[in-house]
């Protein structure tokens, strides 16, 4: 008697969403099963892996990341190097230098970087803001304009600035709009509704529902994703059927397990290995919970997570 399992295929599916243009464009979503449940139905669009660079300057990167970009002097150099790395399917540029409490670079300066990077690489682009909602409203709107025709993802519109970001990115320049909520399922849904009411096509929205590093309240991430996928697939809730993109890198490269030096924590061993494994294990958990794309920083993490996805799909 063979093993017979009831199919877990749903009548609803996650939206398909394309980022970028041409041969290198990537498509997220489309599945009508839970993450990697290929035994229930085939998953046409495997989750995608992107690499993150920032404009914040090499000296602020962890030592092991600096090593990966040896010889790079500008953000464009880094972008080119990153784009050539194995397994990288899209490039994420984080404009952290815009933070008014940090380097406070001008919007013009940052948009120029965006333009230069866009000219240098043909991979699909994700542009992340500096996490200051006022500055991001302006910055991401201008970036959307600068990237006209690239079908880029602007990450992200938040509750406080969705009107500005949504109008520029979603309406004026037809880019993909990221909707960011921090591990809050009701807000995730609300932002999608608000963006749709603004006129942004639901098929052009990606959700960043947030993540935590492994060990740092990750249970909230798990349950938020589990419940979003349940609502989207089993309740056919169209306001939650947007693919999920998760910037893992910006979370994990801040926790002490990843960055404490070996000198400080001799029994923990080399920092680089700890950072990579923190990034890999967090990203793997995000993916099996429901991320349709993850953004990583270390090239070794990219290689491993790409391989993991290939093996699972």
């Amino acid at each position: 008697m063979p093993f017979t399992a009831k199919s877990g295929k749903f009548n609803a599916s996650i939206n398909t969403l394309t980022i970028g243009t041409g041969d290198k464009a990537i498509t997220l979503g489309g599945e009508n099963v839970l993450p990697f449940y290929t035994f229930d139905a085939p998953i046409e669009n495997a989750p995608k892996v992107g690499i993150e660079i920032t404009d914040g300057g090499m000296e602020n990167e962890p030592e092991c990341i600096q090593k990966c970009y040896e010889g790079c002097t500008t953000v464009v150099d880094m972008a080119k190097a990153a784009a050539a790395m194995e397994g990288v399917e899209f490039l994420s540029l984080r404009l952290e230098g815009g933070d008014p409490n940090g380097l406070n670079k001008s919007t013009e300066e940052l948009v120029q970087i965006v333009k230069d990077v866009a000219a240098a690489v043909d991979l699909p682009l994700v542009v992340c803001g500096c996490k200051n909602v006022e500055k991001d409203a302006e910055l991401l709107s201008k970036a959307a304009e600068a990237l006209d025709g690239r079908n880029a993802l602007l990450l992200a519109a938040k509750e406080e600035n969705y009107k500005t970001v949504g109008a520029a990115a979603g309406l004026a320049y037809k880019q993909v709009v990221g909707a960011e909520s921090s591990v809050d399922i009701n807000l995730a849904k609300q932002l999608n509704v608000l963006l749709s009411q603004l006129g942004v096509n639901g098929q052009s929205i990606a959700m960043n529902i947030g993540t935590a590093s492994a060990g740092y309240g990750f249970e909230y991430v798990i349950s938020t994703m589990d419940r979003i996928k349940a609502a989207a697939l089993s309740q056919n809730d169209a306001t939650l059927q947007m693919p999920i993109i998760t910037p893992v890198a910006s979370e994990v490269w801040g926790v002490k397990e990843a960055v404490a030096s070996e000198a400080d924590m001799p029994e923990w061993g080399p920092a680089e290995e700890r950072g990579i494994d923190m990034e890999i294990e967090t990203a793997a958990a995000d993916l099996v919970s429901g991320s349709n794309a993850v953004i990583l920083r270390h090239p070794a993490s990219v290689v491993t997570i790409s391989k993991l996805i290939k093996e699972l799909v």
Partner: protein, 448 residues
């Protein structure tokens, strides 16, 4: 799992004879489902139907115990697929693999490395709980038995990865009292292995080349009367291992397929094929998706720190907040002259705040109050993080005797406490810190 009235009704005689005291069979079924009457009140319910009912009300997944004493672990017994439905009850346990095919130096190095990872995180001991001792037909049974003895010296639960009944018998002779797992019942040897496991009184691990073969093998062993088993996720590919782990769990919980209701072993050491980063990724995947035991090639701090943290998160009870021990936590070499910051004992708050303080590089003392494991605003609203509770805590812990510095930073979210604290804690300068932890680095640096 409780049966719905409808399921009972389907099995009922549907005679509406009223002999049970209910007006209809449907009303009777409803009362049985509610537990208000016993099924025996109906004289016409067939024995087959009763057997089908008791089968259907048995727990969907068996609870299996391995090991003894302090090293006894409970596996399985889960009733849900997602943690927001109900707390997962049995944590994933990790094993490190050794093999009789290795030379002595390699074996000694592997075994010596196992105790290296052993630390506490939020009142939970994090260490490798099990050792997977693999038998190789290329080495002698004597060598295998010696290896088992050596591994047993580490006081972990042993999993004997052995498909040879004679070798298994010899190994069990030296370790069966510690309740190891005998992992190696294949379709070819299951009868002999079942006899060996039964005689030694140990849990039997079941293997199949694919899900069909695995299912048949479990069913065959159940027919021999064995219900004390673990199932091995297939190891031919990551995809099929994932399919076993998920599909068997799902079939057990959702479709009440009892033959699938056993805890699982996932051998990620085999699946990763020597790629250490891949092994880390797979360990995370199978912790999330239903591995009861995950077998690794090695467990160093790099793999362990995120993995054990993830496990701790995944298996928390959503109703119970994670708490850290209240007290003084010196950071960046903080001493009695270093500035003090105080906050609540909610684990997430502690981790985020201590992480930012470490990033600042500024020596300081983080004083964690007893605030019921709630977040800053919640505990403040509940009166568990108030000026009087903070003042009382400082007194009870005799903090003034331990620390000379009299500067105390309070979370920006409870800035309202400043005045009251200054009144209740004379001599202290109360400083309002930022509302968000991420602003702490700048705040501390600016203050210097």
């Amino acid at each position: 799992m409780a049966l719905k009235g409808l399921d009972i009704f389907k099995l009922s005689p549907k005679k509406n004879c009223k002999e049970c005291g209910s007006p209809t069979c449907m009303a009777f079924s409803m009362k049985v489902a509610q537990g208000a009457v016993s099924i025996d009140a109906c004289p016409y319910f067939s024995e087959d139907a009763k057997a089908a009912m008791s089968e259907a009300t048995a727990p969907p997944m068996k609870t299996i115990k391995v090991g003894t004493g302090e090293s006894e672990y409970t596996l399985g017994g889960e009733t849900v697929l997602f943690r927001h439905e109900k707390t997962f009850v049995s944590k994933t346990r990790y094993a490190v693999a050794v093999c009789s095919c290795m030379d002595d130096a390699e074996i000694d190095a592997k075994l010596a490395a196992i105790p290296a990872v052993d630390y506490d995180r939020i009142s939970e001991r994090m260490f490798v709980e099990m050792i997977y001792v693999n038998y190789s037909a290329d080495a002698s049974t004597e060598k295998y038995v010696e290896l088992v003895k050596k591994a047993a010296g580490l006081n972990r639960v042993l999993i004997l990865g052995c498909e040879d009944p004679e070798a298994a018998k010899a190994a069990l002779a030296v370790c069966k009292d510690s309740k190891p797992v005998l992992n190696g019942a294949t379709p070819a040897n299951y009868e002999a292995m079942n006899a060996v496991a039964a005689e030694a009184g140990v849990v039997l691990g079941v293997i199949g080349a694919n899900n069909d073969e695995l299912f048949d093998n479990v069913a065959a062993l159940e027919k021999l009367g064995n219900k004390n088993m673990l199932i091995n996720a297939c190891t031919d590919s990551v995809k099929s291992a994932f399919a076993t782990a998920v599909q068997f769990r799902k079939a057990a919980i959702k479709d009440s397929n009892r033959t699938c209701g056993y805890p699982s072993i996932v051998n990620v050491a085999k699946l990763a094929k020597g790629d250490a980063h891949m092994q880390a990724a797979l360990a995370s995947v199978f912790t999330m998706k239903y591995g009861s035991i995950v077998v690794m090639e090695q467990m160093g701090y790099a793999e362990a720190l995120p993995l054990y943290g993830m496990r701790q998160n995944l298996f928390t009870d959503p109703q119970k907040p994670m708490k850290v021990e209240p007290g003084i936590y010196p950071i960046n070499g903080g001493d009695e002259n270093s500035i003090c910051l105080t906050t609540v004992d909610f684990a997430l708050t502690y981790f985020v705040v201590s992480g930012e303080l470490e990033r600042s590089g500024v020596p300081c003392n983080l004083i964690i109050n007893d605030a019921g494991g709630l977040s800053v605003l919640t505990s403040w609203a509940a009166g568990k993080f108030s000026s009087s509770s903070i003042a009382k805590f400082f007194q009870e812990q005799e903090i003034e005797g331990k620390i000379k510095c009299r500067k105390l930073c309070i979370p920006g979210k409870v800035a309202v406490l400043k005045g009251e604290l200054e009144a209740k804690m004379p001599g202290w300068e109360i400083i309002v810190a930022p509302r968000e932890a991420v602003q702490l680095v700048k705040f501390l640096k600016d203050m210097q």
